[in-house]
Amino acid sequence: MLTSLRVKDIAIFKHGNIGIMFKRLDKNLVEIELYRHNNRDVIGVIGLAENDEITLVPYPLGRESNIKCLMFKLKQPITVLPNSKIAISTYLPFSIAIFSNNALIKIVNVFKIKLALYGTPTMGDLCIYVRESDLINYSELLANLKIILTNNTHEALAVEKLIMPVEGLGIFSNEYGDVVYNVVKAFLISTPRGTVIEISTTTEPSRENNFKGIIKPETVTYIMRHGY
């Protein structure tokens, strides 16, 4: 949980260079404004009484959308040796979910979402696009993500991008407010049609240290057939 607040007149949640302002319009309506690097966007109006408490919770990026995959482009290709395993520790942005009375009322995407196509226009998948190199300039709402790459083939392979099933991404948090994603496993497998990567999300947090699930992840598998 990031914070909880009541909106009498104005309530603000601030985190680094971003801010979410809740401005009461009347007895029942509250306007939500997102401040991001000196830009202001009105992102919606919600029905909320003065006594209702709202809770801001970290939420997996893109999970609310109808886009099923997330393309994570690594800073540089990583070569995995045959029959070996490496763990990558990186970051992935997260969104903010606004809950009231345990009901999800709004998702605020602080990270600027771009789309990418994985595969062909007819057979491929539309993905949310995250480039690891862009995250250097984005220090706000990032959660640790551990990716375990396992090469089950007999040749060294370079991996440049990973397609993760959004549905399988979950969020964990600890008592200090640290936020982490669940572990993602990627298996490089030889098939008669060439090498593919089988991406599988797990239900374990990316870091040890008493992390508890906020948005529970699921084990979902995605096969990367169109290159990596």
């Binding site: 990418a116 226009p121 007819t122």
Partner: protein, 277 residues
């Protein structure tokens, strides 16, 4: 008098066998008709795993098939020789087939299209300069609601032999825009502005990456070709939006988008000298 009153009973007694046959035939026909209806309903419900138009047409065919079987069974019970009937039906079929060539052509094209899945309900298609959304795919014809609001009914045989642009089968589409900037304008600055605007638009795909080409050196401008991909459903919206934004941003940055222009040099003759001569 008494015999008059007993006449119907006698008639019933004499024709009991025939009556039971007729009754049996009617019952068989009704039973098959309802079985056909139930099976058709069940088939129609599989639209969750197949396309609605496929389910609708298969359900319709199933219903007709069961009704036909019921009718033939009923005729057989009544005692009509089905062999003779089939021979007669064969001859009738040839005559009807010749007379209804086009209708049968439409029917078979419709069936072939359903199995091939050429168009689906909801697809955005362009057929011979007609743009619209497929509303219904029947066994004989296909109904398309044009973007101008009219309904276009196309016989399936025509549709089967026509090239169709299906804009819904791709999840993304490429947009191509040509922009000319004046020779005096800073080309690199223009390229940077365009690149930034393409990145700022959330609906323009990051991969495949947008491509900006310095295409040609035209008569009055340096022509740029901009190519990028968007989700198919946002094609027109993004295209219109980005053209407007690029015009505004380039103009604000002092980059001129010139209209076609030609510099005409006029050579004036010294007419006074000519006159003196």
């Amino acid at each position: 008098m008494i015999s008059y009153w007993f006449f119907p009973i006698e008639w019933v007694n004499e024709n009991l066998v025939h009556l039971s046959r007729y009754l049996g035939a009617i019952i068989i026909f009704i039973v098959f008709y309802y079985i056909g209806k139930i099976v058709a309903n069940k088939v129609f419900k599989i639209k969750t795993i197949t396309t609605p138009e496929f389910a609708y047409n298969i359900a319709k065919t199933t219903r007709i098939l069961f009704t036909m079987i019921g009718l033939l069974a009923a005729l057989s019970i009544i005692g009509i020789d089905l062999g003779g009937l089939l021979i007669a039906a064969g001859f009738t079929g040839i005559v009807v087939g010749l007379a209804a060539q086009q209708t049968l052509g439409n029917l078979f094209s419709g069936l072939a299209m359903l199995f091939e899945g050429r168009v689906k309900i909801g697809d955005i298609v362009k057929i011979n300069d007609n743009f619209g959304v497929v509303e219904h795919v029947g066994l004989l014809s296909t109904r398309i609601r044009l973007f101008s609001g009219e309904i276009l009914l196309i016989p399936n045989s025509v549709l089967f032999n026509t090239s169709i642009y299906n804009y819904s089968s791709s999840i993304v589409r490429r947009i191509e825009i040509s922009i000319g900037i004046s020779y005096r304008s800073d080309l690199n600055k223009a390229l940077e502005i365009i690149r930034n605007e393409l990145w700022e638009n959330p609906l323009i795909l990051a991969e495949p990456e947008p491509v900006i080409l310095v295409d040609t050196l035209g008569e009055s401008s340096v022509n740029l070709k901009i190519m990028f991909w968007v989700p198919s459903q946002y094609f027109l919206k993004v295209r219109s939006n980005i053209i407007g934004i690029l015009k505004e941003k380039l103009e604000n940055a002092g980059i001129e988008i010139p209209f076609p222009q030609r510099i005409v040099w006029l050579r004036t003759l010294d007419t006074t000298d000519e006159r003196e001569k």
